[in-house]
Symmetry: C2
Subunit: 255 residues, 2 copies
Amino acid sequence: MEVLSFDGKVFKKEEVELIKEEPFTIFLNGKEFITLLCYPKDLRELGLGFLKSEGLIGSLSEVKKISFSRDEKDIYIEADISELEERLHEKRIVTTGCGKGSIFYFALDSLKCREKSVKKIYSYIVIQNIMREISRSRGNRSERGLHVCAIYNGERLIIKEDVGRHNALDKIVGYCMLNNIDTDDSIVFTTGRISSEILLKTAKTDASVIVSRSTPTNLAIELAKKLNITVVGYVRGVNLTIYSGEERITTSPSL
Amino acid sequence: MEVLSFDGKVFKKEEVELIKEEPFTIFLNGKEFITLLCYPKDLRELGLGFLKSEGLIGSLSEVKKISFSRDEKDIYIEADISELEERLHEKRIVTTGCGKGSIFYFALDSLKCREKSVKKIYSYIVIQNIMREISRSRGNRSERGLHVCAIYNGERLIIKEDVGRHNALDKIVGYCMLNNIDTDDSIVFTTGRISSEILLKTAKTDASVIVSRSTPTNLAIELAKKLNITVVGYVRGVNLTIYSGEERITTSPSL
């Protein structure tokens, strides 16, 4: 589109590309379930990942059919969902109310998250290198508004992007489901802040480490300590800070 | 708290302060309405502003009583709310489903937003100066994870902060309600991206300009053009870009 750009001296007309944001509706077993605002890429992954993060589906074997509307703005997912799960989900919505970025349900979420033991260990160098790769993948100016999320399981690195950091993580979750990628004790990377909600969503992927360029909140750290998750923040250039679970990070560059 | 910090050479223990994030529950006329995760400051403003942004209350005259629980984690608001408004709100939740940062209801929202005429005009210099002031107010490293939002009506500048950019804007809305500040044709500033949701929330404050360090999405611009709202993005140093409604921005430094 044409914009009016000022460089400190003159205003001039310029062509720029905007970040795409589109409504995307998930239908579950024939019923409209939710409309997300998202970056319209990897929508199969987003649909599946969202339902998994919400606790409605566990694995791909529960999914019977996935199809799209012709314009690809709607996804239709048929899955084996117990009446109990559906009722619990409805109850959760009714009980806690809902709003923009504001559902909070410690009780139910913490039931689904188990305390992690220390199995895999990662080098801080690996973390820095991956963060650099993510920063590079954010690309040019027009793309800077996108959040990037990644998962690394010691072997594979998967990177996804979206206008929302929750969506980006859901795309990762959906991708790993579709491609049968083991996320147990992996590292989740996010370009956004580490809030309690992202910490809980990370815990549900079975990752044991979360890494960000930004800083965590006190509530995220409280949860991380309870679930024994490693939080590494402020990963910028040569710097980084370990906020919890330091036993999973070695100073050896080779792991 | 104590963290393990790496400066490129050695790991060392360091004391840092974390950003506070706390659950905050709004009770409306005796019923639990929603729990927000927020930065625990300006909670009266947040409670009122949230209800106003959701379309449940219009002005302070509809509010009969505001009180807090002893630990200040709950707010109790009593207000004149018509059965219709409450039913519409419930319907909206049920119809569209809900999730993290994902409610979307064009139809209802666009009913509440009128197309703006061009009444006030602002200089780009004023915009740059205020953005600089906001950046300064973000403070030191420990505070960098907070989103800052501001409103400027040509006379007064109000700045609020929160872990969420929606909460920060709601705090502004609540503050202006409580202090009888005219927000008509004002400028809203945000440190976050300009998504369609923030654009709609801005439109509901009766502001006619939204400004950000970051870039808008295509959907935000589509809505801005429909509602005749000026979008100024990428305000960094001497640079800025006008995406829509350029007739409200002059190149004169004096306005």
